[in-house]
């Protein structure tokens, strides 16, 4: 099954999931999912609403821990280390595996403070100048620097939706994560802002392992090299994006991609 689902890669995977089950109370949301995420490729999760994309994404940085009823079974590793192991520090894990949410959620602080938040709590900057540099670098990488460099002290919530989302990406980048998880990062944005984020994902590729959940087939095709199709909590097919979109092996994948349901 794993062989069938996983595309061929040479380098060891950045993150790997094996036989993952997720339950919300009695209800099972994810059934026996195994999949690898590697450094050089952007991985897209697609599938109809409620199929468990967000749930699975959130197991990758243990955000499901914040849901009281959620329970995760199976093995998930980051660089070969089990992230659900007792010895794993969740705080450290989330610094290494950052997340960008569906709705932009900047803190009600200044733009500067939003970006400085992560480095500050993890003690990454050695002084004011160092912090300034981290903030500038992160905003530049997120493609927001030119637009906000003169008003870093303005509130982050005063930016437009697209700018807010790029601010959230800058905030996630600021702690220098290894993996960035994005849960429908463009669903609240207009086409122009969406295009900017997609361009940004292109630029970030290779520096970070990126996983993106999307409902937009074209977007998945545009930004990703690997695509995983989920249905009813199972991983139906995982492979090269080109192959998934042009020659899906599974009937269900084909039906979904051609708009038969979802």
């Amino acid at each position: 099954m794993t062989e069938l689902n996983s595309p061929q890669t040479t380098a060891p995977p950045k993150m790997a999931a094996q036989g993952v089950n997720v339950f919300y109370g009695e209800k099972q949301a994810i059934r026996d999912v195994s999949l690898d995420v590697d450094m050089d490729n952007v991985t897209a999760f697609i599938g109809p609403s409620g199929c468990g994309k967000s749930t699975f994404l959130r197991t990758l940085n243990r955000m499901n821990d914040t849901v009281a009823s959620a329970r995760v079974e199976g093995l998930i590793t980051l660089d070969g280390e089990n992230i659900y192991d007792r010895s794993m520090d969740v705080v450290q894990l989330r610094a290494r595996v950052g997340m960008v949410f569906q709705k932009p959620n900047p803190f009600p602080k200044s733009i500067y403070e939003n970006v400085a938040y992560g480095p500050r709590i993890h003690g990454l900057a050695s002084g004011k100048a160092d912090m300034d540099q981290i903030v500038e670098r992160s905003l530049k990488r997120a493609g927001l620097w030119e637009e906000v460099k003169d008003r870093l002290q303005d509130s982050g919530t005063a930016l437009s939706g697209g700018q807010q989302q790029r601010l959230c990406i800058a905030r996630a980048i600021a702690v220098d994560p290894e993996v960035i998880l994005m849960d429908e990062p463009c669903s609240a944005l207009d086409p122009i802002a969406t295009a900017k984020i997609e361009e940004l994902i292109h630029e970030l590729r290779g520096r970070y392992a990126i996983v993106i959940v999307t409902h937009n087939m074209q977007q998945a095709a545009r930004v990703s090299q690997r695509t995983a199709f989920f249905h009813l909590g199972t991983l139906v097919e995982y492979g090269e994006t080109d192959q998934i979109f042009t020659a899906p092996r599974q009937e269900r994948t084909k039906d979904y991609i051609t708009g038969r349901y979802g």
Partner: protein, 457 residues
């Protein structure tokens, strides 16, 4: 005619009006080619309202002015020439006349006994006249409304408008009452300030109303010690207790408590807010006060009193905890959970998330809650009446006694003073100042809350 009988009659007319109005509308509905615009019941209601409301308004006004008319009749009678010209005695006699006419057997003035039958006669005449007029009015208005019932008459809209008017009046009552209270406070205060200069009252530092010098009453009516005491007990000591504990319980309840715990603890805290303040007063006076005195003595304060500022303030703080906690709870819960998730996803711990994201975001709401709590604390009376002393000290030592504005108002008004001495009137000036301060605090708090709401919408 008896007032109750009259009301009964008007109500009866109203029912008849409803029935006839409805019947007429129904008849129109069945005969005319147009469809009825409104339901027959609405036409009935329309006629009934016209029948009863003007008549009732008339009755209210009439019965309010009848005593005056009847008194006038008495004064115009020949026997009334014996009445003293003006002043206190004349009023007293007239009061007694009215009381006797209403059936009272007691009195001091023989003249009143003579005049009472006159008064009774006049007032019964006016009552009959008023009743007749009221019934006539009811009938006339009802008839007018009855003639307006047509197939296309918009009774529904008319009734709706009346309902709105009734609701408006109902909602105005509380506001008008507050306004009335404020005005009466204001007038009494103006009388006070005609005897005592405003500056003496606001900036004077000596408060001892027991020894007022008639030549210069302002000398011992300086309210600064009272405001200081109020501030010290209500805004400092009480808040030192209420803010941290209220906040921490709100944080626990919103962030850490499991749903089961929250389900039990929140209502329990709210019950605490419903404990009558007099019970807290006992607790402060009988338990906390002596305990604090003992503590103070063991700390070396030899003249410690059991009526310390600390005792009253601590208990008041405990009383306010649920208040602060529930305001803070609401504003923390109103911070979108996306903020919390965002922070946790950055690798922040729960407590970092609370301190750096949730609390700052909820701060305006919390501040507003604290302001409201302060305004409650400084208006709180029972605890300080029971547990604080009457000694007006300006002190920052919590073991010493201090007094508050509310306590002094109670003391001033329960004394045996006449109603126009500076001593009694001072109570109104204090009340007015307190009213203004709490009013201001509430306005500021509401504005802060409003701003804060806008930030998230």
């Amino acid at each position: 005619m008896n007032l109750y009988a009259l009301l009964f009659l008007v109500a009866g007319l109203g029912i008849i009006a409803w029935l006839t109005g409805r019947a007429r509308a129904a008849r129109f509905g069945s005969t005319s080619e147009h469809r009825l615009h409104s339901l027959p019941g609405q036409h009935g209601l329309y006629v009934a309202l016209w029948t009863t409301v003007p008549a009732l308004l008339f009755v209210i006004v009439w019965w309010a002015v009848t005593p005056m008319l009847a008194t006038d009749a008495v004064i115009k009678s020949p026997q009334a020439l014996q009445l003293p010209a003006f002043g206190y005695e004349r009023d007293a006699i007239l009061n007694e006349v009215r009381a006797r006419a209403d059936g009272s057997e007691y009195g001091f003035y023989p003249l009143a006994e003579q005049l009472a039958p006159l008064y009774a006669h006049a007032s019964s005449f006016y009552a009959w006249l008023g009743s007749g007029l009221a019934l006539l009015l009811a009938f006339a208005c009802g008839a007018f409304a009855y003639t307006r019932v047509k197939a296309d008459f918009r009774a529904r809209t008319r009734v709706e408008r009346t309902v709105m008017l009734v609701l408006l009046v109902a909602s105005l009552i509380a506001i008008l009452t507050t306004l009335g209270i404020f005005l009466s406070l204001l007038f009494e205060s103006i009388r006070f300030f005609s005897m005592v200069p405003v500056t003496d009252f606001l900036f004077g530092t000596t408060w001892s109303p027991q020894v007022i010098d008639p030549a210069d009453p302002g000398k011992t009516l300086g309210a600064v010690p009272l405001f200081w005491g109020t501030f010290f007990i209500g805004a400092v000591i009480a808040m030192l207790v209420a803010i941290p504990f209220g906040l921490m319980s709100a944080i626990y309840l919103t962030q850490y408590a499991r749903p089961v715990v929250r389900k039990w603890m929140k209502p329990m805290l709210e019950i605490l807010a419903g404990v009558p303040t007099v019970v807290y007063g006992y607790f402060a006076a009988l338990t906390v006060g002596p305990a604090i005195r003992d503590l103070a003595v063991s700390l070396g304060f030899t003249y410690a009193s059991s009526e310390s500022a600390l005792a009253a303030g601590l208990v008041m703080g405990v009383m306010i905890i649920p208040f602060v906690s529930s305001m803070a709870d609401d504003s923390i819960a109103a911070v979108p959970s996306a903020m919390r998730d965002g922070s946790l996803a950055m690798g922040a711990t729960s407590s970092e998330t609370i301190c750096k994201v949730l609390l700052p975001a909820a701060l305006p709401g919390v501040v507003a809650g604290v302001l409201l709590a302060v305004s409650r604390a400084i208006g709180e009376t029972m605890i300080v009446v029971m547990a604080a002393s009457g000694a007006a000290n300006i002190t920052a030592n919590p073991f010493e006694s201090a007094t508050t504005v509310t306590k002094q108002i109670v003391d001033l008004l329960t004394g045996e003073a006449e109603f126009d001495s500076p001593k009694t009137l001072a109570a109104f000036a204090l009340g007015l100042t307190l009213f203004l301060i709490t009013f201001l605090l509430n306005i500021v708090a509401l504005r802060v809350v409003k701003k804060y709401r806008e930030a998230y919408e």
